[in-house]
Symmetry: C2
Subunit: 287 residues, 2 copies
């Protein structure tokens, strides 16, 4: 598998693939690949002719005091893993190659960027939208695969792509979990062994919310969120940031959960800030 | 010449041209074409295989109380004029076709969008950057032609295109003027006959600034700006918004005008708000 660091070289490689009539499948990542990323690469492999993985830790999406420096990086391991599931090319530019001059341009998606992660991590989703706009612009016409793990990010990217008419089909893919339910994340590497044992509670609290909606027929989003919060409260290592029941497109809290919703949760555990989410549909509403 | 209103149809037409090996030349306009626009079309015709003119009055770049409703529109005349100088296709979507859902996404270029026009017309340059990002995204790989008349807009678009790695070559083209120096603008249509007689003063005040720098060797931007202001003051119909001497890339006012600069001026005349600009280079500095 070829690794390209020069943006123009990569842009040309994607262009050349399309000229050969190939459908490009793009998997944007910040590296530190795990089985979640690999599921995206496999899906792209199944759908497309040329599978391109991007590997770039994007400083724009880290706030002051966040883990930009600590974020795990291992290009060689990433390249080996991506190749093992069929990636054809990896784009791994340096920050200087991506931004020879510090960028002045920001892409902002109003509303859906301003809640939840937007409140906890100001500027984070602008940084995501901006880098994804640039990566998609470099890639050109393609199918782009994103995990539902970062659900709000996926909603923001879909909206941006639609608003700006990017020539891209955005494909959301299911969360990959450990057998005990923990959603895979590069930041799980920050967890101690004890914290790893506690971590699946995040998923259990989502399940508690899902049960309230689907089994008990609870339609009050505040009561469902309270249920999720109580469940996580049983695990004292966690410090909750938010538990929310939202419309899966607008990310607004519905007055009543009478249509399919998304349950979202964010909490700190030791050095890590973890997020997770789950779909839920009230009885009679199809997901 | 074909007129297309459907964004996807237009995107496909541009894609098809590239597949035939054609270089696409794009001329984004808000319609109401005049000889300034036609000079862009001619330049695109000389450089490119397929010349596409976009004709869309973009609501995002009009502020509250501005002239969105009054802005002149005449698709048939525009199509005839564009065809007469060699345009192959015109993209003229309705607002509803461009934004079936009101857009949530904004492209902002910090710094250079926040001064001059950015101060006088808050949000205007964000509206420009956002629609141009969308038009360029729909067009795909191309050369895109913009007049230097909207100089700050050109600087913002260049910066956005570079920051987001849009697959586009941005080409700035010289201002077209009447024989008495008035820069052509669709908004000149708002001027009465008396106001049209007065309007060239805008250009004369730019010339006064240029003479101060080039002939008298004045290097203090404030003195040069004052000179421009005084010259415009001789014409009582005008109400000045700004006269400025700036770096042509950063749009910052230099401490001393010792390298090539851009002189910018904006003023109201009757119902119209007019802008104009001119390059100036101190003795010994090449433009």
């Amino acid at each position: 598998m070829e690794v390209i660091s020069d943006p123009l070289g990569w842009q040309e490689a994607m262009e050349a693939a399309r000229r050969r009539g190939q459908q490009v499948g793009l998997v944007p990542t910040m590296g530190s690949l795990h089985a979640g990323h690999l599921s995206l690469v496999r899906r792209a492999r199944a759908d497309c002719d040329l599978v391109a993985v991007t590997n770039y830790v994007n400083p724009l999406q880290f706030g002051a005091g966040e883990d930009l420096e600590a974020y795990p990086r291992d290009l060689e391991a990433d390249a080996t893993m991506a190749a093992s599931v069929g990636a054809d090319v990896m784009f791994a530019p340096s920050v200087e190659e991506m931004w020879p001059v510090a960028p002045g341009t920001t892409v902002h998606v109003a509303g859906i960027s301003d809640v939840l992660e937007g409140e906890c991590r100001p500027g984070h989703l602008d940084g995501v939208a901006t880098i994804v706009a640039k990566l998609l612009s470099l890639a050109g016409q393609c199918r782009a695969y994103f995990g539902e793990k970062d659900f709000q990010q996926l909603v923001v990217i879909r909206r941006m792509a639609r608003d700006l008419s990017l020539p891209v089909c955005i494909v959301g893919c299911p969360i990959v979990r450990t057998t005990d339910g923990l959603a895979l994340s590069s930041r799980n590497a920050y967890l101690s062994s004890d914290e790893l044992d506690a971590a699946p509670s995040l998923y259990w609290s989502l399940l508690a919310g899902k049960r309230a909606i689907e089994d008990r027929g609870e339609t009050d989003p505040a009561i469902v969120a309270k249920e999720m919060e109580s469940e996580l409260g049983r695990q004292p290592h966690f410090s909750l940031e938010y538990a929310a029941v939202v419309d899966p497109e607008t990310l607004e809290v519905p007055v009543r959960a009478e249509a399919p919703v998304r349950l979202l949760i964010a909490a700190r555990l030791g050095r890590a800030r973890l997020i997770d989410n789950l779909a839920a549909a009230p009885p009679g509403a199809s997901e």
